[in-house]
């Protein structure tokens, strides 16, 4: 199949406790995949393993045919995969613009070029008016947006978004979702990790992958997954259709 | 000086004697390191005034002996509370404000450097740079086991160091306060959620870390000489001990102390006394390369 990212039989064990067990899935170019799973399901761990923060206990991660296992996060970023963090990690004492320039430097060498890219991406995400603010002075929503901008500035082919909408109010959620929907037109695929099965994620995702206790328990179109008894079971009756 | 040594002539007696001496001094290093380890566990910073606190403990012990004739072995009843209070004051008035202001960890460490400098130089002003020693009735006594002889003060110091370590361990395991300290060390946020007053625990822990140096100071006086600049040397030793044991692990620190004591003592005999302290560094670098999580910890980066 034409997967860009192909994860095969991926397992990660932390001191005897399995956090991922034989997880298989693929992502096609320009695709938006929703990765859902309850608290502790292994979403963050999956992102950490794909981006090289942790080495997998076993399994393969192929990106455009290259095995990523053993590479460092910065190598993987340069190959085209970057991420945002569940607990946001802005560069607090640098301005918004400088934060995004750091991302842009992944592809260019001079300040002028980086600045140009950064301004363009800030415009794309709508953070441009705040470019001179220090990152630490931003609201949570803006910090999340900043991370996304910074990630886009590295010119990735795939962005892994960890808990994209956690802590956002409905308007902010809506705005973020719109932004994610626009990523494919920039040639960027995205995996949006979320804890709750939310309608917003169901509507924007081309495909949903469900994790529970480190195992992939379902995957498919939003409708298929939404009616999967095992998924409903995993959420213990927490209706997936809960509004936003 | 190591001049007259003939390498080919090392017999078992010397080896045993060296090992024993290393273990004995290592127990003390362990106690010194435990103070730093318990502080690191809760504060997440290395207290670089740890050796200076030890130095203060030694001076307190020295003066209560010289002025009132209190035997060093009994002096922990004075040095432990004294250092506890000193530690609490340092934390309460200097570190607490920084922690509240969410200062960078580097700045907190730098602050302890400043504290160390003030303590050292205050001691220098008060007591001059002269070397001092305490002579008790048992200072020169030896215990002989067959052909091996060890100094009685070293044995006593080791024994009491083990007693204090066990007391600390029991305190951490069995008392509510001890459990709070361990919970805070494991996960300050979770401890906070569980209703632990993390700030108070942090202050108390720092006091305990200092009190351990008080106890160690009382014992070190028996086997070492005393001068103001000694703090820096022991801060470094404590750090090596703590890295050997795995950062923040108190029991690990005890083991680390014994390893360092052994390495130094074997190095002094088989390499040269001048390089004794350099050997500690070599052991330390080897650890960093091969087992950065400590001797007993799981290697993780």
């Amino acid at each position: 199949m034409g997967w860009m990212l192909d994860v095969r039989k991926l397992s990660k064990v932390f001191g005897g406790l399995p956090a991922l067990v034989n997880v298989d899935f693929g992502i096609a170019p320009g695709e938006i995949v929703g990765l859902i799973g309850p608290n502790g399901a292994g979403k963050t761990t999956l992102f950490n393993v794909i981006t090289g923060v942790f080495r997998p206990t076993s399994g393969e991660i192929l990106f455009e045919g290259k095995n990523l296992v053993g590479l460092k996060p910065h190598d993987i970023c340069r190959l085209g995969i970057t991420r945002t963090f569940q607990v946001v990690k802005p560069l607090p004492k640098m301005t918004v613009l400088e934060n995004v320039m750091v991302g842009a430097f992944a592809r260019v060498g001079t300040k002028e070029e980086a600045r140009e890219i950064a301004l363009r991406e800030l415009e794309f995400t709508g953070l441009l008016p705040k470019r001179d603010a220090l990152a630490r002075s931003l609201t949570l929503a803006d910090r999340k947006l900043l991370e996304l901008t910074r990630a886009v500035a590295t010119r990735p082919k795939l962005i892994l978004l960890d808990e994209v909408v956690a802590g956002l109010n409905p308007t902010e959620t809506e705005e973020t979702i719109t932004l994610i929907q626009r990523l494919p037109e920039r040639g960027i695929a995205a995996v949006a990790g979320v804890e709750h099965v939310m309608r917003v994620i169901m509507t924007i995702s081309h495909r949903i992958v469900v994790l529970n206790y480190g195992r992939k328990i379902a995957q498919g179109s939003p409708e298929e997954v939404g009616h999967n008894p095992e998924v409903i079971e995993a959420y213990l009756g927490e209706a997936y259709a809960e509004t936003s | 000086m190591a001049e007259g040594q003939r390498k080919g002539h090392m017999d078992l007696t010397i080896l045993l004697q060296t090992v024993l001496a290393g273990v004995l001094v290592g127990g003390l290093y362990g106690l010194i390191g435990m103070g730093m380890a318990i502080n690191f566990g809760v504060l997440r910073i290395i207290n670089l005034a740890q050796g200076e606190l030890l130095m203060v403990g030694m001076y307190v012990c020295y003066w209560v002996f010289t002025l009132w004739g209190l035997d060093p072995l009994l002096s922990p009843v004075v040095t432990i509370p004294f250092l506890f209070v000193l530690g609490v004051v340092i934390h309460r008035f200097l570190l607490t404000p920084l922690i509240r202001a969410r200062a960078l960890p580097e700045n907190q460490i730098l602050l302890t450097v400043g504290v160390g400098l003030v303590l050292t130089n205050a001691a220098l002003l008060a007591f001059t740079s002269n070397y001092r020693t305490i002579t008790t009735s048992y200072s020169a006594s030896l215990i002989t086991l067959g052909s091996i002889a060890v100094s009685l003060p070293a044995v006593l110091a080791f024994g009491i160091a083990m007693l204090v370590s066990s007391a600390l361990w029991l305190f951490l395991m069995k008392t509510d306060l001890g459990k709070c300290i361990r919970a805070t060390a494991q996960d300050p946020d979770a401890a906070l959620l569980m209703g632990v007053n993390v700030e108070r625990i942090s202050v108390i822990t720092f006091g305990i870390g200092a009190a351990l140096e008080g106890a160690a100071g009382s014992l070190l006086v028996l086997v070492y000489y005393l001068f103001p600049a000694l703090g820096g040397i022991f801060t470094l030793k404590a750090f090596i001990v703590v890295v050997l044991g795995g950062l923040g692990s108190t029991l690990g620190a005890l083991l680390g102390g014994i390893v360092l004591g052994l390495a130094e003592s074997l190095g002094a005999v088989f390499v040269s006394t001048g390089y004794k302290d350099a050997i500690g560094f070599i052991v330390f670098v080897l650890m960093l390369i091969f087992r950065p999580a400590g001797l007993v910890g799981k290697a993780r980066m």
């Binding site: 460092k72 340069r78 | 910073i45 290395i46 960890p105 400098l117 130089n121 750090f239 960093l288 980066m301």
Partner: protein, 326 residues
């Protein structure tokens, strides 16, 4: 922005500054003052090189005396044993600093936590012990006596000035480039930096090597100027390693001018207090560290700049001309 109006002042200030620095030893013939000026420049060099690593990249070292002493011993031994001329020897001293930095950085920068800071402390102690004990090579505690090279202080002054200027220019050049952004990113958040494609180990190593190079050159310079070194002096924890930190912290970590201000304060204060406290004059260092960390954590320049002109602020200046709405 006000930058346009400020530009003329900046150029004027720069020209005046250069004129004062070049003319100082000619106008001021007092040898003691010239000596203090030389020490000021030496501390600018040391504070600036520590600051590149500690202030910008956030990698605090408690043992930069290791590099200082390494430089001092390298050029002095090259001269004493091989007759290698001491001023070019300074460069080799700097290279020796880099050679020492490589393995240290390699071992420590993989690890998170306080390892690097304290390993440096351990390294400088280790070198002090080695130079003290390896008497065949280093003369041990006796130290190495070098012949004085110049009678007048003028050449010493200008060499120190060149060294300080080179260190500051190198820092400015690095900080104003991609490398500078990367170092700040590493200081601010290593995980984020990695995720953004920054090889954090490598960039930390770059900062360390540059820092070590200039610190070691300063050590060589010190040896040539004082014409005598011994292990306790050049590997001193307090007089070198901590004083370097103090210069940077006092002036303002992560600012270009911080170490200059810090050096001025330190040289003045330690001269002033030496008379009062004799050997214990270092108590002043201790009190200063505490006061600065508690009350002025951004340092003098950092605190002033927060209220002052934008270009002074403790981060990379990005106000390049042509900024939209600039």
């Amino acid at each position: 922005m006000a930058a346009r109006g400020g530009k003329g002042w900046r150029w004027g200030g720069a020209v005046l500054g250069v004129a004062v620095l070049l003319g100082f030893p000619i106008v001021v013939s007092d040898v003691y003052l010239q000596h203090l000026a030389i020490f000021f420049l030496l501390w600018v060099t040391l504070g600036t090189s520590w600051n590149l690593l500690g202030g910008y990249a956030g990698q605090i070292s408690f043992g930069h005396a290791a590099f200082f002493g390494m430089g001092a011993y390298t050029s002095s031994l090259l001269f004493a044993k091989l007759g290698f001329p001491p001023w070019p020897g300074m460069l080799l001293g700097g290279v020796a600093g880099i050679l020492l930095a490589l393995p240290m950085g390699h071992i420590c920068f993989r690890l998170r936590g306080p390892f690097f800071a304290l390993s440096m402390l351990a390294l400088s102690e280790f070198l002090r012990l080695v130079t003290l004990n390896w008497r065949d090579l280093t003369e041990g505690a006796v130290g190495i006596l070098l012949p004085p090279f110049f009678i007048s202080k003028l050449p010493y002054y200008y060499i120190a000035l060149a060294l300080a200027a080179a260190t500051m220019l190198a820092t400015w050049f690095l900080v104003d480039s991609k490398v500078g952004f990367y170092l700040l990113a590493i200081r601010e958040d290593q995980d984020a930096a990695e995720a953004l494609g920054i090889d954090t180990t490598w960039y930390k190593l770059v900062a360390l090597m540059v820092s070590a190079f200039f610190s070691a050159m300063a050590g060589s310079y010190y040896a040539n100027y004082m014409a005598y070194i011994d292990p306790p002096i050049v590997f001193s924890i307090v007089d070198i390693s901590i004083a370097m930190i103090l210069v940077a912290v006092l002036g303002g970590m992560g600012t270009l001018w911080g170490p200059v201000v810090g050096a001025l304060v330190i040289v003045t204060l330690s001269e002033a207090f030496r008379a009062y406290f004799a050997a214990a004059h270092l108590i002043v260092y201790g009190v200063l560290i505490i006061v600065v960390i508690v009350f002025m954590p951004e340092g003098i320049v950092g605190s002033l700049a927060a209220r002052g002109p934008r270009w002074l602020r403790p981060r990379v200046a990005t106000d390049a001309p042509g900024a939209s709405q600039g």
